[in-house]
Symmetry: C2
Subunit: 109 residues, 2 copies
């Protein structure tokens, strides 16, 4: 749960992994991209889940749509996007959304 | 990938499952709630992923925020929300967002 007040931006990345191998570089690249994202201006938080069958959802939260767009254009991230489309994902969808409200029982509320 | 054109509404539900048991009713309730959601007015699509450690993300997509709000108020769903808060989730956060754009390589684009 981010402590940020709405509105803020969510980037919802849904993907189906291709058959993975330990040598395909995915795990290392995913870790590195998350570290890099966390250092970008306007970054709020990030969360990920993936099923055993390879379907996963990652959502990153940003102060504004401009911050999210800037992250999309970071050079190392562009290279990871290219490798993802070519090697790591059978299908993927990116949705850019404005969070209007949030609630829950998590700490920080 | 929904074939709907933005803007549409995303409800992002992030949760940490409590220690689960086969008898806690969660799996059956989750299946039933998904079936019920798919029959609601304005429903577009739904996707879920959960890590082995119990952290999960479910996103449901709706034509409008009003459709998403109506689903939140469906009697059986209210009961499931109560059981979730009490029995199934250690933490959860719900975010209601407006999808402004989407892209990807999935069928239907």
């Amino acid at each position: 749960m981010t402590s940020e007040r709405p509105p803020y931006t969510a980037v919802i990345f849904s993907s189906q992994r291709s058959a993975s191998t330990p040598e395909d570089g995915y795990d290392e690249a995913a870790r590195h991209m998350e570290e890099l994202a966390r250092r970008q201006p306007g970054f709020l938080s990030m969360e990920s889940a993936r099923n055993a069958d390879g379907f996963g959802i990652t959502v990153s939260y940003w102060e504004t749509a401009q911050h999210a767009r800037a992250w999309k254009q970071v050079t190392e991230h562009l290279e990871a996007q290219r490798r993802g489309a070519r090697d790591w994902y059978v299908d993927y969808t990116v949705r850019v959304a404005t969070v209007e409200r949030h609630y829950g029982n998590a700490a920080g509320h």
